[in-house]
């Protein structure tokens, strides 16, 4: 029986509140194999770890069990502690007596009994832990950034900056993402294009960054340091090497289609670049609408193209590349307002979403920067801005706050007053949130300098009334009913996860929350990592946030990538499968279920009596194996075992937990 030490943590009062620590220590003392048991207010603290190291030395402990918070939290911390005291890090076992005991069971007596059972189970497993050693893994020194918005651009630039090669894959014909659609940015009112375009050009010119636009992720395989990604370069029908970007084709193309970039406010041609400052500034043919691909007629663009760059025969290309790390920066979609009939969106042309209003503000937008009412093309006098449309709405929208609307609506109010002298912005809000540096001051300018009227009262209904819009609400502070006649209504709609985020998450084998935003490893401690080693997050794909935070996350993610690629080699997880050749019958039922192709056939020569006999056995590639354990159940004689979660360990756990 290995000499085992049990260390129970109070976690301040988190555990001690509903688990009787003294009783647990006493119970631990007479568990089979336990020679030392102790407790401490904060086992993960410096002192706590010192107690463990000291106990290992003085009591010659061979196994350590720590009863504390979830292993997903501090397993590595305590493994380092145990290793520092000279034991193999995998001689440690954690009993999760906080998240799965003290925090969810109120009655002290049964919570303590359960805690003792969990400790007994951890001890039973620890007694059977074998020393495990990580093996060295080669690293592919190339990074992949998915999504060419400001997050992806910043991440790619920072990675390239630290000397590593990076591929940037963008679904649209040009990078720029959501920020390219903006006119100005809060709180500095910088022109969005002025701060974004230089970075886009920098990406195009950087020889470390390879740009793949009009391209999507098809498949992701492998693991940290050795990802194999298949990218689908969709057929652009334009030969990028020949095209000079003169734009003649875009003028002559007869087909007019709603421009996604301008949210349908204006038309674009079948051959198009999303916006003037596009990088690469080379058009793509939208094959769903191009007359040649739909009705087999026209080919105007081919005729007039001076460089002969049009090539209708191009096919989708699949390319497979190896990467060491991946950054997901796929951005967000504005919430569709289908079930918000009360605001007459889609029924009256002067009811716009905030992004549509932003397009009107933009000089390269549909109205060349002038604020004009879509219904009659004249500048509006009174404009109502309605906040939290689809946000903070448990009933039929997103329950969460979209974080950026209050600030950009203040910006809209200011820009409205600048662009349309004498215009009066009315902002209907629930609470104005200005959580950033210089944010509150910016908001104060909106109502002090520019005379925006802020009314705390969510608008209940917007009535089209002649050529005006009647907005009905209440001023909750004064109690006065509110009925305003305005010429335009701007809805600050919520931030949804990107359509297709769920599928990409499944390809990357990372998890998403209930609203399809990617799950970070830990909201506070590891915001840009995921639970899948080697895959990092940046920007709104992880949740609603503004540009400063997005850029900060992008640089953080880039730092994580360079830290990973900078290592000379990676330590592989040692909890991989292992074959006992004596028991193996060679029927390869393990090979069939292995998702990583880590198992192969090996011819074994062994002496039996006088002659040597050759037979087939299974062999595990320690590098490819990720330790899922599917093979251990497929193997009927139990010849293949999973180190760290062996059959013996789990059987012992089951028997201990039922005592």
């Amino acid at each position: 029986m290995k000499r085992t030490g049990v260390f129970i943590c109070w976690c301040g009062s988190n555990i001690a509140a509903t688990v009787d620590i003294e009783l647990a220590v006493a119970a631990a003392k007479n568990m089979p194999g336990v020679v030392f048991a102790d407790q401490n207010k904060y086992m993960c603290s410096e002192i706590g770890q010192e107690i463990i190291k000291e106990a290992i030395r003085s009591h010659r402990l061979e196994r350590v069990v720590v009863a504390s918070c979830s292993p997903r939290m501090h397993e590595n911390t305590f493994r380092k502690t145990v290793a520092a005291a000279g034991l193999n890090p995998y001689f440690l076992e954690i009993a999760n007596v906080r998240e799965q005991c003290s925090w969810v069971h109120k009655d002290k007596e049964t919570a303590t009994a359960k805690a003792i059972a969990l400790i007994r189970t951890a001890v039973a497993k620890a007694l059977r832990n074998e020393a495990l050693f990580a093996s060295e893994l080669p690293i592919e020194r190339r990074a992949l950034v998915i999504g060419g918005g400001i997050a992806g651009i910043q991440a790619a630039l920072d990675i390239a900056d630290s000397g590593f090669v990076v591929d940037l894959v963008e679904k649209e014909p040009s990078i720029g993402g959501r920020m390219a659609q903006l006119d100005k940015t809060f709180p500095t009112l910088d022109c969005s294009a002025c701060i974004l375009t230089p970075k886009m050009v920098e990406v195009a010119q950087s020889e470390k960054i390879t740009l793949f636009t009009y391209a999507e992720i098809e498949k992701v395989e492998g693991y940290v340091g050795n990802f194999t990604v298949t990218v689908r370069n969709r057929a652009r029908s334009v030969d990028m090497s020949k095209c000079t970007g003169c734009g003649d084709c875009m003028l002559k193309c007869p087909v007019k289609v709603d421009s996604e970039f301008d949210l349908g406010l204006v038309k674009r041609r079948a051959i198009y670049t999303p916006f003037p400052q596009a990088v690469p500034n080379k058009p793509a043919i939208d094959r769903e609408h191009c007359r040649w691909f739909t009705e087999n007629k026209c080919r105007v663009c081919e005729k007039i193209c001076p460089a002969g760059a049009i090539d209708y025969s191009q096919e989708d290309e699949l390319m497979t590349v190896k990467y060491g790390a991946i950054v997901a920066a796929t951005g967000f979609d504005p919430k569709k307002l289908g079930n918000y009939g009360e605001y007459a969106y889609g029924k009256h042309p002067d009811v716009l979403t905030s992004l549509e209003f932003e397009r009107l503000l933009n000089a390269s937008g549909p109205t060349a920067g002038k604020i004009l009412r879509p219904s009659n093309g004249r500048p509006p006098k009174n404009v109502a801005f309605i906040q939290c449309v689809g946000s903070r709405d448990k009933a039929k929208g997103n329950p969460y706050c979209a974080k950026v609307c209050c600030m950009y609506t203040a910006k809209h109010a200011i820009l409205l007053c600048e662009k349309v002298p004498g215009a009066r912005p009315f902002v209907f809000y629930i609470d104005v949130r200005t959580p950033g540096k210089d944010y509150e001051e910016f908001y104060n300018r909106a109502y002090e300098e520019y005379g925006a009227t802020y009314i705390k009262g969510n608008v209940s209904k917007v009535f089209p009334d002649g050529d005006k819009l009647l907005v009905r609400s209440v001023d909750a502070l004064s109690g006065a009913l509110v009925e305003l006649e305005v010429e335009m209504v701007v809805l600050a709609n919520s931030v949804d996860a990107r359509a297709g985020a769920k599928e990409l998450a499944q390809k990357l084998s990372i998890t998403t929350n209930a609203f399809n935003f990617f799950n970070e490893a830990h909201p506070k401690l590891r915001p840009v990592e995921t639970h899948t080693a080697g895959i990092f997050l940046a920007g709104t794909c992880q949740g609603p946030k503004d540009i400063p935070e997005t850029v900060a996350q992008a640089s953080a993610a880039a730092m994580k990538v360079t830290a990973l690629l900078g290592k000379d080699s990676l330590l592989s997880t040692p909890t991989v499968a292992e074959v006992d050749e004596k028991l193996c019958t060679g029927d390869m039922s393990c090979l069939v279920v292995c998702p990583y192709g880590a198992i192969s056939e090996k011819i074994l020569e062994e002496r039996r009596g006088r002659e040597t006999v050759r037979r087939k056995v299974a062999e595990v590639n320690m590098v490819l194996c990720q330790g899922c354990g599917a093979c251990t159940v497929a193997c009927r004689p139990g010849a293949i075992n999973l180190k760290g979660f062996t059959n013996e360990q789990i059987m012992a756990e089951v028997e201990a937990i039922c005592l």
Binding site: K114, A117, T511, V633, I657
Partner: protein
């Protein structure tokens, strides 16, 4: 056996996969969604790692209910672990029922890392169902 107050307290053993349902269990903890202390969780790398022998052994040693929780199909960190688990436990569950074991005793559920509330709800539901059935005598070892 959990500490029995008045009446019968069932023992439920839950095999939770490290990437999804164990994370869901932790989330149920961090968001303080209580569930009965009869439930005890064993962490496994994947629902595909759970061998039917572990389940039968749990029943033999006195568990009154056993749950295998894994990622939703498609979310498995190892791509196909839960697909294999689905086939294995579909067969095992029908066989146990055929041999006369109450279906509520052995359950399989997909619980993702963000479904803390669902984890707690499933545990409450399972404990109550098994409490109604009473102690598992059919698969329990005599010694």
């Amino acid at each position: 056996m959990p500490v029995t107050r008045e009446g019968f307290e069932p023992l439920i053993v839950a095999f939770c996969c490290n990437w999804c349902s164990y994370a869901g269990a932790d989330l149920a903890g961090t968001s303080r969604q209580p569930y009965p202390s009869n439930v005890r969780v064993i962490r496994v790398p994947c629902s595909g790692r759970v061998n039917p022998s572990f389940i039968i052994r749990a029943f033999q040693r006195g568990a009154d209910g056993v749950l295998v929780a894994g990622c939703h199909p498609g979310d498995c960190h190892y791509h196909s672990g839960n697909y294999h688990a689905r086939r294995r436990f579909t067969i095992l569950k029908q066989l146990l029922e055929y041999l006369g074991i109450e279906p509520e005793r052995f359950q399989v559920r997909w619980i993702s890392g963000s479904e803390g509330a669902k984890f707690s709800a499933v545990m409450n539901e399972l404990t109550e169902n098994v409490r109604k059935l009473g102690q598992n005598r059919k698969l329990r070892d005599a010694r």
